[in-house]
C-alpha cells in the first residue's frame, strides 16, 4: 500500500464542503501552535490520534507569473511543515502550513480532522476557527489602515486657493 493511499480518504467531498474546508485550513495555516492550543482548551477532551505522516518540514517551490499574469516561473522556495493524522473514528486530517512549526502543523491537522465531524464542527468553528480568523482579519485590516494613512492626497494650486 502506498503512502498516498494510506493518508488520503476522509469525508466525501462536496463543492460546498471543500470550500468550507479550504477556508478553515487557510485560517489554521496562519495560526501558531500557541494560538491553536489556547483556543482548543475550552473544547473538551481531545482524541488520541494516530499520526500517519510527520509532522515534517520540507519545501514548496513558489511560482510567480512573468509580468504578473503571464507564463509561470519558479521564484524560490519556502519552508512548509505538514502533518497527517487519523482520529479514533477514522477521520483523516491534513495540514500544510508555511514555516517550521511542527506543533502548529500537528494541531492544525487535528482540528482539520475534527472539523470534518459535523457533530464537533459547530463548537470548533465557534471557539477555534472564528476567533483565529477574526484575529487574522484584524491584523490585515490594521496593516491596510496604516497603508491607507500613507496614501497621497494630491491637491492642485487652484484647490489650495479655495
Amino acid at each position: 500500500m502506498t503512502q498516498r493511499a494510506d493518508i488520503s480518504g476522509g469525508t466525501a467531498a462536496t463543492a460546498d464542503g471543500t470550500a468550507k474546508r479550504r477556508q478553515w485550513m487557510s485560517v489554521l495555516a496562519r495560526a501558531s501552535a500557541d494560538e491553536i492550543s489556547a483556543r482548543l482548551e475550552g473544547c473538551g477532551t481531545l482524541p488520541d490520534c494516530q499520526i500517519l505522516r510527520g509532522p515534517e518540514t520540507g519545501l514548496v517551490m513558489v511560482r510567480g507569473r512573468a509580468g504578473g499574469g503571464g507564463a509561470p516561473f519558479n521564484l524560490g522556495e519556502m519552508t512548509v511543515t505538514r502533518c497527517t493524522l487519523r482520529t479514533p473514528e477514522g477521520t483523516v486530517g491534513h495540514a500544510y502550513i508555511a514555516g517550521r512549526d511542527k506543533d502548529a502543523a500537528r494541531l492544525a491537522a487535528l482540528v482539520d480532522a475534527l472539523m470534518q465531524d459535523s457533530a464537533k464542527a459547530k463548537v470548533l468553528q465557534a471557539r477555534v476557527i472564528a476567533p483565529l480568523a477574526a484575529a487574522q482579519r484584524a491584523r490585515r485590516e490594521a496593516i491596510a489602515r496604516k497603508a491607507a494613512a500613507t496614501k497621497v492626497q494630491f491637491f492642485t494650486m487652484s484647490s489650495m486657493r479655495t
Partner: protein, 369 residues
C-alpha cells in the same frame, strides 16, 4: 608531477573557528542578539538573505544573518546549503500579485490610478541624515491609521492594456501546460535560456550585480527608456494542491516586492508600436532589487523583441553566468585555498622559460660580438 598529500592544519582550523565564534559573539558585556531581534529589527537584511538564498523563512534568514555576522552573501550561502537538507513537497500554484494585501503601491506613470499612490513604510523622501536618537532605546509613536476598504488594487498594466498600448502578459505560446517552467534548483542552466529560467535566476541573483546591470541600461548600454509603471509590496497567499487532498489549499502568506517597468518599443514588422515591459519579483521588501530585476529582464528580452544585442545587460549568457553570488563567491574565493602543487608547476615553468630566454639572449649577444 607527483602529488604530495599534505596533512596538518586541523588544529589551526579548529582554533580559527573557535576564535571566529568568540569574535561573532563580540564583547560579552554587551547583550547577545537573538535571531528574533534580527528578524524584527534588521528585516531588510533578512529579506536580502532570503531572496538571494532563494528560500523564504524569516527565522532561518535571521539565523543565517547572525551566524554570518551580517555578511549577507555568506548568509545566503548558508541558506542555500540548508535547503538541500529538506525534501521538496510541492510546487505552488502561480501566485496572484493582483490579490496582494498591499502595504505599498506606487506608480510613476499614472498619478490618479485606482487605489491611489500608497507610500507604505519607505525610505523615499527621508533626508538620509543619521538619526542619533536611535542610539538610545526608544519606542516610536504608533503609525497613523485611516479607515479603508480591503478592495484589491488593480495592476497598472491592466489600465494601459485596455487601450492595447502595452504588450499583453501572455504572449501566444507563452503558457504551455505541457512544459513545466525551468527549475534551476533541479537542472543546471542551459542555453538558450527562456524567460522562465531568466526570471528565476534574477530573483535569486546578487542585488549589487543586478543593480549595476540595470543601471548600465539606463546609462546607455542597451537603453530602453524605462518608467516605473508600478511597484507594489505586501503579503500574497500561497496555494498548493496536495495530491492526497485533490484541491488547492492556502498554506500562508509571504511578503513580496513586485516591479512593472514600462519601456518604449518602436514596434516591428509584425507588432505595432507599443509599450513593452520588464518584470521584477522577489522575496521580502526589496524594492531596489525588484526594480533592477525589471530593468535587467527587459534588457534580456532584446533578441526576442528584434532589438540589436550590443550591451552586456542584453547578453543572456553573460548575465546568467555571472549574476549568482553563491557561484561567483565560490569561484573567486576558491583562489585562497591551497594551490601549492599548481603553483609549483607554474614556478618551474617560469624558471625554465627564463633560462631559455637568458640562453637566447646570450646567443644573440655572442652573435653580435
Amino acid at each position: 608531477m607527483a602529488y604530495v598529500a599534505v596533512k596538518g592544519g586541523e588544529r589551526a582550523i579548529d582554533n580559527a573557528h573557535a576564535w571566529l565564534a568568540e569574535q561573532r559573539r563580540g564583547d560579552t558585556g554587551v547583550p547577545e542578539i537573538a535571531p528574533r531581534q534580527i528578524a524584527e529589527q534588521l528585516g531588510r537584511a533578512v529579506d536580502r538573505a532570503m531572496a538571494e538564498g532563494a528560500i523564504y523563512d524569516r527565522g532561518l534568514g535571521a539565523l543565517a544573518v547572525k551566524q554570518a555576522q551580517g555578511d549577507l552573501i555568506e548568509a545566503a550561502f548558508l541558506l542555500r546549503a540548508y535547503r538541500t537538507t529538506l525534501p521538496r513537497f510541492a510546487y505552488s500554484l502561480p501566485l496572484d500579485t493582483g490579490a496582494m494585501h498591499v502595504a505599498r503601491r506606487i506608480s510613476a506613470t499614472f498619478k490618479d490610478l485606482p487605489g491611489g499612490q500608497v507610500l507604505g513604510p519607505t525610505y523615499d523622501y527621508t533626508h538620509r541624515l543619521l538619526d542619533f536618537t536611535l542610539e538610545q532605546e526608544a519606542s516610536p509613536p504608533a503609525a497613523a491609521e485611516t479607515e479603508t476598504d480591503l478592495a484589491p488594487m488593480p495592476r497598472v498594466q491592466d489600465i494601459l492594456a485596455q487601450e492595447g498600448l502595452i504588450e499583453p502578459d501572455a504572449l501566444p505560446g507563452a503558457d504551455d501546460p505541457g512544459k513545466p517552467p525551468a527549475d534551476l534548483t533541479r537542472e543546471p542552466l542551459s542555453f538558450p535560456a527562456g524567460r522562465d529560467a531568466r526570471l528565476q535566476a534574477l530573483a535569486r541573483a546578487d542585488e549589487g550585480f543586478v543593480l549595476a546591470m540595470g543601471y548600465s541600461t539606463q546609462r546607455g548600454y542597451g537603453g530602453s527608456h524605462p518608467f516605473a509603471g508600478e511597484i507594489r509590496m505586501g503579503e500574497v497567499a500561497i496555494e498548493i494542491e496536495p495530491p492526497e487532498l485533490g484541491f488547492a489549499i492556502d498554506i500562508g502568506d509571504i511578503t513580496l516586492t513586485e516591479c512593472q517597468m514600462v519601456n518604449q518599443f518602436a514596434g516591428s514588422k509584425t507588432v505595432p508600436p507599443q509599450f513593452t515591459r520588464g518584470y521584477g519579483l522577489a522575496f521580502g521588501h526589496c524594492e531596489r532589487k525588484a526594480m533592477a530585476m525589471a530593468l535587467a529582464d527587459r534588457a534580456m528580452r532584446a533578441a526576442e523583441l528584434g532589438e540589436d544585442v550590443t550591451a552586456p545587460a542584453q547578453n543572456i549568457e553573460f548575465m546568467l553566468y555571472h549574476c549568482d553570488n553563491i557561484e561567483a563567491t565560490g569561484f573567486v574565493e576558491h583562489l585562497k585555498l591551497p594551490h601549492y602543487v599548481d603553483f609549483q608547476s607554474e614556478l618551474e615553468n617560469v624558471r625554465r622559460m627564463r633560462a631559455e630566454h637568458e640562453a637566447a639572449a646570450q646567443a644573440t649577444r655572442k652573435a653580435a660580438e
